[in-house]
Symmetry: C2
Subunit: 492 residues, 2 copies
C-alpha cells in the first residue's frame, strides 16, 4: 500500500505542500484558468453540500429565512458606510461595460466602448450595503422586526496570492443579515450565531474552536463588535473559521432604515451579519487529515463505507452476493455505502485511493474470512484493522461511525489543549511562536502593541477568548498594565 | 373579504399587470436598485428552494454530481466556439478592473486606472466554455466517461427590458453538463434530462408541458439539437420552461477534450447541457394563480395549511387548545402548518392575505363549529368551503392536499388541451394567434418562412412536438410541401 501513497508529501516534511497536494489529489478542488478562482470538484462539493445542509437547518431552527440579493452593487453604495468602504471597496472586481462586439478581424470579441455603464458596478465582496438598501422598504414598524435573512452565494475579493479554499478571489459562503428593534436583541443574535458556528464546527466538523471577540483592529469593517471562532490547524497555526458581527446602527443610519418603535417613535434598526465560507473546507482538511490522505468525520463524508472484495475470479459470485446483503443492511440504517468490485483496479490501489479520499470505514471481504463468518474492518481515523463478525455488522459499523466522529474530535481537542500556552515573556514568545500554538498573553489594549507584535512575529491577536478566567497583569511587550489575556497566534 | 383584494388587478383586465402586481404583493420578488437585477424575497425563495431540492434529487438519482466552476470567464474563451459567441457573448457584464481607490475629494471611490485587467473577464451567461476548458484535464480515457456534473448558480445576461422572474439580467439556475464517449449516449442523456424536466413540471409544479425539439433558428448557440418543454400560460402564450441541448463534439473540439476510446483511439468527447432557472417561478405563477392571488400546488407551498381562530377573546383559550392539537396531528403527517392567532389583524384580513400567498388549505376554527366537532375547510384552488369533522381532520387534509395537487394539474391540462389547434390557413392563423393558443401548423422547414411568421405575427416556432402523429402537408405560409406540423405560438 505504501507504494501508491508515496506521491503525497508528508506533513512533517512540508505541511503547506502536503495541504496543496492533498486538496488536488483527493479531488476536492483545483485552480482554474481564471486567476485566483477555483473549481470545486464533485467530491469536494459533496462535502460542502453536507456542511450547507446542516448549517441551513440550524439557521432555520432559529427563524432565519433564505433570500437572494443582487450579485452587483452600485459603486456609490460602498461609500455610504465610511469604515466599510475602507475595509472592502478596494480590491474588488469592477464591471464597467455591458456589451462585447465582434472585432475588426472577425476572429474574436472586444469590449464595445459604447456600452459603458453610467455608474460602475462591483461584484459583491459582502452584501451589507445592497441588503440594507433593500431593507429600507421592508421595515416600517417594530412589528416588522426582527427580520432574519440569509443567502448562500458567491462573493469576490480580489486576491493576489491565493490558496485553494483558504484564500481565493471567488468563494462560496452564506451571509446572514438581521435587523432588530433593540441593541440588546441584536447583540444577542450576534452571539447566538457564533454559538451555532461553534456547535457546528465541533459537532459536525469534529473541529474544536476557541470562541472570542476580535480586537478593534481585526473587526469587520463597519462593526462595533466581531465575534469569532478560531480553530487550530495541525501545524499550530490559527484559522479563523466563522465570524458574527454586531453592526450597531451603522448600516441602519447609512441606508436610512428607520422604524416606529413600540412608543411610536422613529428609531434606526440595529444590525448583525455573520458568515462562514468554503474556507471551512480548508480548515476541515488541515484539522484531521494525515500522510495517507483525508480523514473525514463521518457526518461529512460523502461516502461513509466502502466494501472491497479480495479473491479469485471464481469466488466473486459468492463475495458479490454477500456484499449485496451487507450493502442493503447498511443502507437500511441510513449509512452511505459503495461496493467496489471493479476488476480493472487492484485491491491495493483501491485501499490507497479510498484512504486518500478519507472514506471512514473499509470492509474487506475475502473467502477465508467469509467461511468463518468474519469481515475485515478498517477505520480511517486510526488505520486500525479489526476482524468482525458479519452477523450484525451493520450495527457494528453504525456504532463505529459514531465512535469515530467522537474520536476525531477528541484527538483534535487534545492537540489544541496541548498547544495553548500562557506566556508572559516577549522574548520567549518570539521564539516559541515560530513553532505554532495559541499564546494567552496580557495585552495593554493599544493598537501600537498589536502592530508591533504583528510586525516582529507575524502573529496577530486572534481574539479575547471567552471562558478564560481573566486576571489583570502586565503587557509582555510594553510593560504597561493589562486588563486581560488575549489569544495570539500566527494564522492562515 | 373582497375589500382587501381590490388592490390586485384582474387577469381579464390586464394579465400582464396582474402578474407584475402579484409577484410583488405576494412577496415573491421585487426589483432592486441595480438595473435588471431582482431581489428574491424569503417567501419566493422558499418556493424556489423546494423546486431546487426536488430537481436536485432527481438529477442525483441519474448519477449527476454537483460541482462549482468560476463566475468569471476570460473573454477569449467565448470566441472558441464560433456559434456560441454569436449567441451569447454580446450582451454580458464585463469586468475590466480589479481595484477601486478613494477619490480626490475623499468622499467616494473611483476605479483605479492602474488596476486594469490584461484580459477582460465576463460574468458567465452560461458556463459551457469554462467547464469544457476544465474537462480537458479530467477526461483522458473512455473509463472517465460519462462525466455528469451540475451546478446551481447565478448567471448574467444583460437585458434592457426586464420582468421579475421572466426576464432579468441576473437569474439563478442550474446548468448540467455531461461528457460522453459516444454520440448515442449523449443524445440519450439530452432526452433523459428533458423527460426529467417534463416530469418535474407536471408532477411537482402541476404544470402540463409540450415536449419537442427546437428549429435550427431557435437552437442554443453551439448545439446540434435543443429539446424543450413549453408550457401554456393562462393567456395562451407559451413559456419555454426548460431546455436540454445535444452539443455534439462542438465543445469537445473547441476545447480539445480528447479521450482514448475502447479501441485505444483518440476521439473528442460528446456533450450535453441542460438548464432550468428562476423563470420557472414566473411560469408557476402564471399557470395557476387567480384574481385572489397565488395558487400553489401543495408540493411547492412553503406553508400548506393555515389555521385561523374566529371568536371572542373569552373563547380563545379553548380555540388555542384545540388548534394546537390539530397542528400537532398535521405535523405528524409531515404537513407544514401555521396557527395564526395574532390579535392585531382581523380574520378577514388574514383570509385575504393567505389567499394572496396561495396557502393551499385554510381551517377556520369557531366556537359554534367546535361545539359540533366541526371545522371549516377552504381549499385555495377552487375556493370551496366545506364543513368537516375535526375527528380525523389530519387524514382529510392530507388527502385534500393530494387531490389539490392533481386537480391543479388537471385544470391546467384542460386549459392547454382546449387551446391547441390545428391550423392550415395563414390568414386565419394571423387573426387567431392574437388571442393566444398553441397552433399546430405544417412548416416547409425554411428559415424564410419562420422569419416571416415571426415578423408578421410575433409568433415563433416553439418546437416540433413529440407524441403528435405527423403527416405530410402544405406549409400554410409558403404553400410548399411540409413534412411535419410544428407548434407555433406567441411566447414570453
Amino acid at each position: 500500500m505504501a507504494k501508491e501513497l508515496e506521491f503525497l508529501t508528508k506533513r512533517s516534511e512540508d505541511y503547506s505542500k502536503w495541504y496543496n497536494e492533498l486538496v488536488v489529489k483527493a479531488d476536492l478542488a483545483e485552480q482554474s484558468d481564471v486567476r485566483g478562482c477555483m473549481v470545486i470538484k464533485p467530491y469536494g462539493y459533496a462535502i460542502w453540500e453536507k456542511m450547507q445542509r446542516t448549517l441551513d437547518d440550524m439557521f432555520k431552527e432559529t427563524g432565519v429565512q433564505n433570500a437572494y440579493f443582487p450579485l452587483l452593487i452600485p459603486k456609490s453604495f460602498l461609500s455610504r458606510e465610511a469604515e466599510h468602504v475602507e475595509g472592502f471597496a478596494k480590491e474588488c472586481a469592477v464591471v464597467t461595460h455591458y456589451r462585447l462586439k465582434t472585432n475588426e478581424t472577425h476572429d474574436g470579441v472586444v469590449v464595445d466602448p459604447e456600452a459603458r455603464l453610467e455608474e460602475e458596478l462591483i461584484i459583491r465582496p459582502t452584501s451589507e450595503t445592497i441588503i440594507w438598501n433593500t431593507l429600507r422598504n421592508w421595515i416600517h414598524s417594530y412589528r416588522d422586526l426582527p427580520l432574519l435573512v440569509n443567502q448562500w452565494c458567491n462573493v469576490m475579493r480580489w486576491e493576489m496570492r491565493t490558496r485553494l479554499f483558504l484564500r481565493t478571489s471567488e468563494f462560496l459562503w452564506q451571509e446572514g443579515h438581521t435587523a432588530h428593534a433593540t441593541r440588546e436583541e441584536a447583540e444577542e443574535r450576534a452571539k447566538m450565531m457564533l454559538k451555532i458556528y461553534a456547535d457546528f464546527a465541533e459537532g459536525c466538523m469534529a473541529m474544536p474552536v476557541v470562541q472570542g471577540v476580535k480586537s478593534e483592529t481585526e473587526r469587520f469593517a463597519g462593526a462595533l463588535d466581531t465575534y469569532t471562532i478560531e480553530a487550530m490547524m495541525q501545524d499550530g497555526k490559527a484559522l479563523q473559521s466563522g465570524t458574527s458581527h454586531f453592526l450597531g446602527q451603522n448600516f441602519g443610519k447609512a441606508f436610512d432604515v428607520q422604524f416606529l418603535n413600540k412608543e411610536n417613535k422613529p428609531d434606526f434598526a440595529w444590525a448583525t451579519s455573520w458568515g462562514v465560507s468554503t474556507r471551512l473546507m480548508g480548515a476541515l482538511v488541515m484539522s484531521h487529515s494525515d500522510d495517507n490522505g483525508l480523514v473525514l468525520p463521518p457526518a461529512l463524508a460523502p461516502l461513509q463505507v466502502v466494501i472491497i472484495p479480495v479473491g479469485k475470479p471464481a469466488n466473486m459470485p459468492v463475495l458479490n452476493e454477500k456484499a449485496e446483503a451487507v450493502v442493503a443492511s447498511l443502507k437500511a440504517l441510513g449509512i452511505s455505502v459503495r461496493y467496489d468490485n471493479a476488476e480493472n483496479k487492484r485491491a491495493g490501489f483501491k485501499f490507497a485511493d479510498y484512504e486518500l479520499r478519507g472514506v471512514p470505514v473499509r470492509l474487506v471481504l475475502g473467502m477465508r474470512d467469509l467461511e468463518q463468518g468474519l469481515v475485515e474492518v478498517m477505520r480511517r481515523d486510526t488505520l486500525e484493522k479489526m476482524s468482525v463478525s458479519l452477523e450484525g455488522i451493520e450495527t457494528y459499523v453504525k456504532d463505529l461511525l459514531a465512535d469515530m466522529q467522537k474520536n476525531i474530535f477528541t484527538k483534535a481537542k487534545a492537540h489544541l489543549d496541548a498547544h495553548v500556552y500562557e506566556c508572559d515573556n516577549y522574548e520567549e514568545f518570539k521564539q516559541r511562536v515560530k513553532d505554532g500554538g495559541f499564546f494567552l498573553c496580557h495585552w495593554d489594549g493599544t493598537r501600537e502593541t498589536e502592530a508591533r507584535i504583528k510586525e516582529e512575529t507575524q502573529a496577530t491577536i486572534r481574539c479575547v477568548p471567552f471562558g478564560v478566567e481573566q486576571t489583570p497583569g502586565t503587557d509582555m511587550v510594553s510593560g504597561k498594565p493589562a486588563t486581560c489575556r488575549v489569544l495570539v497566534a500566527r494564522s492562515y
